[in-house]
């Protein structure tokens, strides 16, 4: 059971400028991890008349976030907006497995080693926990910051209704339906992507987003791999420190002091290395993963717009046909007007959304890259200092 205290290395700042509006402020003030679910305490501060109180909290689980997200996606009114991407499911499986393996292997290692490893796995668990809290919070903040979505009724219910929303996860049938919907969408997407857009802006955005999305995906995967190797190396240094310690306590020559000093040094440096890996994870991997999801959401928007364009063109054709046959002309005219209106509405908001997306993206990358560089420097300098002081000590004492 872990409580979140979001002070150290605030992982939520993948997006920026979301908390400036006093009329509606949302955050996750607390979280509890139970056996296989996480309970988030969603805390709202608002001066809007829609809510009964100015400040209130409810407890929500992951499925309820998903329900909210899906309700946005399915709402035709929001077709012209980039729907903030849903937070990923909290996944403690890997961490739990490791803790279990540790428990099983308890007999084969010394008490110190066991305690050390347990501490580390617990720290890892805590880090994953903090991350999932951050990602759920970012989602809510994005919704709260969006001029239209923040007014959504489901959103208000989500924030205020202090009973269980009784949102069950999708059952098999619904998951299958989703699957087919996605297949159709991607097939459609290919067709739609083939249609050259008259509007330069959107044509450019389409090309850009397709390529960008793929490259972010690749960068995200490679970043993960790199960071994992880094963690592995830090683990090795941990083991080396332990072995050196044992050697130091058993040696009969003057090497014993030497080994103990080096062991102490490696204990400290490997903590630094672990932090480097963790910070790279937060500032680089998480950033890339987030923009992978956001760029997908942007692609979905473009898809919806293209879809409505196709509908509009089809409606035009139908109108022409009706006029030529002089049958159901009124019907065709109405239909065409609806499609035209829909298309124009989507196009207008989509343009703004995509511009905002770029602004947000540039700001987020800037913030994270600067912080990444600063943290790398901080840790490297820390490491350097540890190494130099140890070397200084050893050289004067030999």
């Amino acid at each position: 059971m872990f409580q979140s205290d979001q002070n150290e290395g605030d992982p939520r700042a993948v997006n920026v400028d979301l908390q400036t509006d006093a009329t509606l402020q949302v955050d996750i003030s607390d979280a509890l991890s139970e056996r296989d679910k996480v309970k988030f305490t969603v805390h709202t501060k608002s001066s809007l008349p829609n809510f009964k109180l100015n400040e209130f909290s409810v407890v929500r689980q992951h499925e309820e976030f998903i329900w909210l997200h899906d309700s946005f996606v399915e709402n035709e009114e929001y077709a012209g907006y980039i729907i903030p991407p849903a937070p990923p499911r909290p996944d403690f499986d890997a961490s739990r497995e490791k803790l279990q393996k540790l428990g099983e292997g308890e007999g084969s290692m010394t008490k110190e080693e066991f305690t050390k490893m347990k501490q580390e796995l617990e720290a890892e668990y805590l880090a994953i926990f903090k991350k999932t809290v951050a990602m759920h919070e970012v989602f809510l903040c994005r919704v709260a910051a969006h001029p239209v979505l923040r007014k959504d009724l489901n959103f208000h219910v989500f924030l205020e209704y202090n009973q269980d929303l009784s949102v069950r996860g999708k059952n098999k049938k619904e998951k299958l339906e989703d699957f087919f919907k996605n297949v159709v969408k991607s097939a459609d997407g290919v067709l739609v992507a083939g249609v050259k857009d008259v509007d330069d802006f959107f044509e450019h955005e389409k090309t850009f987003l397709l390529e960008y999305h793929n490259r972010v995906k690749d960068a995200s995967a490679k970043s993960d791999r790199m960071i994992r190797s880094h963690k592995n190396a830090a683990d090795d240094i941990n083991r080396i420190a332990s072995s050196l310690y044992t050697l130091g306590t058993q040696d009969t020559t003057e090497l014993c002091k030497f080994f103990l000093k080096v062991s102490e040094l490696f204990e400290k440096t490997r903590k630094v290395e672990s932090r480097v890996a963790a910070d790279e994870d937060l500032k680089l991997s998480d950033l890339l993963k987030y923009y992978l999801r956001e760029s997908q959401a942007a692609k979905d928007l473009l898809y919806r717009r293209s879809r409505s364009l196709v509908d509009y063109e089809n409606a035009n054709k139908a109108l022409d046909k009706a006029r030529s046959k002089n049958r159901d002309v009124l019907q065709a005219e109405t239909s065409q007007q609806i499609c035209c209106h829909k298309f124009e509405k989507i196009s207008e908001s989509a343009k703004q959304e995509l511009i905002d997306f770029k602004t947000r993206r540039v700001a987020a990358f800037r913030k994270n890259l600067v912080e990444l560089a600063e943290l790398e420097l901080k840790h490297a300098k820390g490491n350097l200092q540890l190494l130099q002081s140890c070397l200084g000590f050893m050289k004067t004492n030999t």
Partner: protein, 499 residues
Amino acid sequence: MADTDREDEELFTEPSGTQSQPASLSTEDVSANTNGPNQDALFDDDPEDLFAEATEEVSLDSPERDILLSDGPSPAITPITPPTSVIAPRIGHTHDDMFTHSSFDEIEEEEVDDSFDINISVSDPEKVGDGMNAYMAYKVTTKTSMSLFKQREFSVKRRFSDFLGLHSKLASKYLHVGYIVPPAPEKSIVGMTKVKVGKEDQSSNEFVEKRRSALERYLMRTVKHHILLKDPDVLQFLESSELPRAVSTQALSSAGLLRMVNKAADAVNKMTIKMNESDAWFEEKQQHFESLDVQLRKLHISVESLVCHRKELSVNTAQFAKSAAMLGNSEDHTALSRALSQLAEVEEKMDQLHQDQANADFYLFSELLGDYVRLLAAVKGVFDHRIKTWQKWQDSQILLQKKREAEAKLQFTNKSDKLQQAKDEIKDEIEEMEGRVQQDERDFEQISRTIRKEVGRFEKERVKDFKTSIIKYLESLVLTQQQLIKYWEAFLPEAKAIS
């Protein structure tokens, strides 16, 4: 040099050096020479005893000796000569006879600090020949100011089997009298085959570099030993331009097979000899080395894992760098695009940094541990030899006892015709056995003394080695961090410039 044998790749892999020579000289094959210091020659004041020792004898006719000892007297004739005096004329002065001194510790200090100035480097690996008969030739350069050598700086070309041959000779001469002979680097069939087959890729280059470094460390360790440094085989190895091929290092030769048989015999013997240890020092030291062995192996495994993961990190960083560059290319905001390209450049530099660090991890840390794990096996070897020497002494005592009993029995027999002859015979035999028992006891005491000194020397070396290497390793870590700081400091303004 037409040889169909490939001594550098063995079908039966042998661990380098330590137990490859049988403990007792009497079973030695002629080609694995026995012209080491004959124990008898060294410790007996009575020259007559030398020739009475029919079973243990220097093979005076072994061919190598002619080359080696052309300017010195043969050991069998010169009485009371410690191993170093075998080449006394070349040194120019005789050493203290360390074996007539009652305490040897003082001597040890003199020996070691006496202007030890020699540096050996192994370089310029060169492939000689083609196909499966090809081999790598290494240049061995010695720089020294010691009067032991004819020149101050000189080079020779040697191949791997030459190193193995040198070790083989040294081991057969010195291991059984208690000297810790540094083991030679290990053979590697896979590694060498790749090189022979001509693969000019990174892994075979790495293999050659690994081996070159190991050979260099091996030679330095060998010459750091004040006794081994003066051995004629070592001098010949370092100085003479032509070296007779070390045929006996081939596994499938008769010498090789004999070695394997003897090793098996040794293994059995080791398990059955239980010694009445009168000196707690030895048991203490043995336990100490055993636990050191366990710890070093464990540490070695962790360091090897670090090397592996660091190399992985390097590869993954390079891949990420490429990916980040691609991302930068597709980013349509100009400043961000540039920053991402800069990030890609930083990561590329980091990839090289990780690669360099992995090499430092390996050569300064991992190989040190590997060397010491193998050295500890040699240390264990000399302790085992001591036990065997003790066993030999016990056996002689038992035999003497038996003969005495036989003599006593003869007193009470009435077979008068052959009685006097038998009595005389047994008297001679008893006298001989008494001499043998005394000799074996002296051998045992000698090896015990030698081991004490050797352990002292070994531990001193170990302390120095570890300190030097680990300090160098920490310095490599310092360098890496300094580079990291440089790279990220250069990147930071680029990131801040995004607007």
